[in-house]
């Protein structure tokens, strides 16, 4: 996530009602999931961007997690996500998110 995106997210979160927000990731692998999940919950781990030292603490999910899938109508999920379930490492991504939540 580049510095500009961090700044945009910070502005959006600070300018709206945080209790009504949830982060839904579409990251492609374990590494990017961990990095972005950490940035949006505990602050930029590289201490380079506007979110350095800013723990947003938002609830965070990934589009491939089972509970997210269940919350979306099956036909919509099949159309929009479809074969990505086969392409991406859903197990690894879920594990990476669980790890971030546990920190």
């Amino acid at each position: 996530m580049d510095l500009e995106e961090q700044g945009t997210i910070k502005r959006v979160v600070e300018g709206s009602e945080r209790s009504r927000m949830v982060v839904l990731l579409g990251t492609p692998n374990k590494g990017s999931t961990t990095m972005i999940a950490l940035t949006l919950t505990q602050g930029d781990p590289s201490y380079a961007g506007p979110l350095a030292g800013v723990p947003l603490g938002l609830p965070i999910h990934h589009i491939l997690e089972p509970e997210v899938r269940e919350a979306i109508p099956a036909d919509v999920y099949a159309r929009e996500i479809g074969p990505l379930e086969f392409v991406l490492d859903a197990t690894g991504i879920s594990a990476a998110l669980k790890d971030v939540r546990a920190r």
Binding site: E80, G82, P83, L84, E85, F86, V87
Partner: protein
């Protein structure tokens, strides 16, 4: 006498030729190196020069041997990467599908291509390429004269950067004092595209039915040719034809970023099928702006600068000759405005949907040609293995359709996919480099059908957020198939 209406025919793709111009000194004129050199100067220039390849190395580079048809793409699966560590001994610079020319030959052609007398060669360099300049009126100046021209806006091109003291070989003068579209660097880009497209067309014309007239040229490259009143409105196709020495065709350009050639092939097939023309050649020249585009990644992993070639192509589309693969216009597909832009949406629309209309499955296609970027070029720059990722997506679509299991996806990729072997020359990698191999496989080989899928990034022009794409299906010629059965 009133002419009878021409019959609607089946278009076939008869041949394709690719030409690579190895131009290491023009790497510095690529968009990215040019911008970075302006910021960082001599230190970076020295570093870049130390990573330039010789012509011999460029010829011996396995992906280039595949592109010009001396090797099959599948050979690359057997070679550990990076491929520049596996040079091919005694590799020739010419092949059944094209050729590789060196920088001196390219510069001679640049001078030949210059109808506006804007190229001036260094008077000490010109004799070196005299053989290539026969019959061409060339202006020359001494080094001091060229330096004055550069300070007045001319764009230099260099020589000997790889193995000697780099020096100016010549310059392109600005086409107009106040016209941004005719600035010297723009003209050098456009002349480079014209030359490489013309060399591919010449190769095709010389080797394939040389006495059969070409009716129409469809330019499908990405360069913007024009002046201040119609920047990008120009017609490079006819300029390419003129330089190639073909006299009979008219021509026009088709623009669709990287997907241009496949769009042009659909249009060429339609022109043949409708009887408007009997022989259409789709042409495209190389992209100077993309030379050295990913050089940072290559320096980081200590690779040579692999983006040191300009690529030109020419594809021969004719009426059914009873042998060449048929272009199935009923399975030609374009990405529509309402189609989604995600990878699986694109491939669903461009690969799966047209096959379904014919009652075919993805598994019924022998090979898919997707964007065939060489992963040795893209991976060090963080862009991943482009064909590898796209074939995984096609395999996932096959798995979701129940054609294969999820566990069979890697085998599907190997059986129906290809390793990337194309230079990152914009429209060139978009599926078409496989054409010569597919034509061989669909005639002398055992293949039945090959699908070509191109994607384009329309959003790059800031006019839309959309992506684009187009696909065509080639099948073994029905007449040829029958002959094969009876003989």
């Amino acid at each position: 006498m009133i002419q009878e209406r021409r019959a609607i025919g089946v278009p076939v793709i008869r041949a394709a030729r690719f030409v690579l111009a190895h131009v290491p000194d023009l790497v510095m004129s690529g968009s990215k190196p040019r911008r970075e050199l302006a910021r960082q100067g001599e230190v970076l220039r020295t570093q870049l020069r130390a990573h330039l390849r010789s012509f011999r190395d460029a010829v011996a580079y396995p992906p280039h041997q595949v592109l010009i048809g001396n090797q099959v793409p599948e050979l690359l699966y057997e070679f550990p990467r990076p491929w520049h560590m596996r040079p091919m001994d005694n590799a020739p610079a010419v092949g059944a599908a094209g050729m590789i020319i060196d920088q001196d030959s390219f510069y001679a052609w640049l001078a030949r291509a210059d109808t506006a007398n804007l190229i001036v060669l260094d008077d000490a360099y010109a004799p070196r390429i005299a053989a290539g300049l026969e019959g061409v009126r060339v202006s020359t100046r001494d080094a001091a004269g060229l330096a004055r021209a550069v300070s007045a806006g001319a764009e230099p091109f260099h020589c000997d950067g790889h193995d000697g003291d780099v020096r100016v070989a010549g310059v392109v003068l600005p086409g107009h004092e106040e016209d941004e579209s005719l600035r010297a660097p723009v003209l050098l880009e456009n002349l480079a595209a014209k030359v490489t497209g013309a060399l591919a067309l010449r190769r095709l014309r010389d080797e394939v039915a040389p006495h059969e007239p070409v009716d129409f040229l469809l330019g499908s490259g990405e360069e913007a040719v024009g002046d201040r009143y119609q920047r990008g409105g120009g017609n490079l196709a006819k300029a390419i034809g003129e330089l190639a020495g073909v006299r009979t065709p008219g021509g026009a350009d088709v623009k669709a970023f990287c997907a241009g050639p496949v769009h042009a092939l659909i249009l060429a097939g339609a022109l043949i099928a409708a009887g408007v023309h009997r022989r259409v050649v789709v042409v495209g020249g190389g992209s100077l702006a993309k030379l050295g585009m990913k050089f940072r990644g290559h320096l980081t992993v200590d690779y040579p600068i692999l983006e040191d070639v300009l690529a030109g192509m020419a594809i021969d589309v004719v009426a059914d000759d009873g042998r060449s693969p048929e272009l199935r216009l009923d399975a030609a597909m374009v990405h529509r405005i309402e189609d989604g832009g995600a990878g699986h949406h694109m491939y669903g629309a461009l690969a799966q949907a047209p096959l379904r209309t014919l009652g075919l499955r993805l598994s019924d296609v022998d090979r898919f040609a997707v964007e065939l970027h060489n992963p040795d070029i893209t991976e060090p720059a963080g862009s991943g293995d482009v064909p590898g990722n796209n074939y995984t997506m096609l395999a996932a679509l096959a798995a979701r359709a129940g054609e294969i299991t999820r566990e069979q996806m890697p085998a599907f990729v190997r059986a129906h996919g290809l390793p990337g072997f194309s230079p990152t020359q914009g429209h060139i990698p978009s599926a078409i480099p496989y054409l010569p191999h597919a034509i061989l496989g669909l005639t002398e080989g055992t293949m039945t059908r090959v699908q070509f899928i191109a994607k384009g990034s329309l959003f790059l022009g800031r006019m839309t957020g959309m992506s684009d794409g187009a696909s065509i299906l080639l099948e073994r010629n029905a007449q040829f198939l029958r002959k094969g059965v009876t003989s």
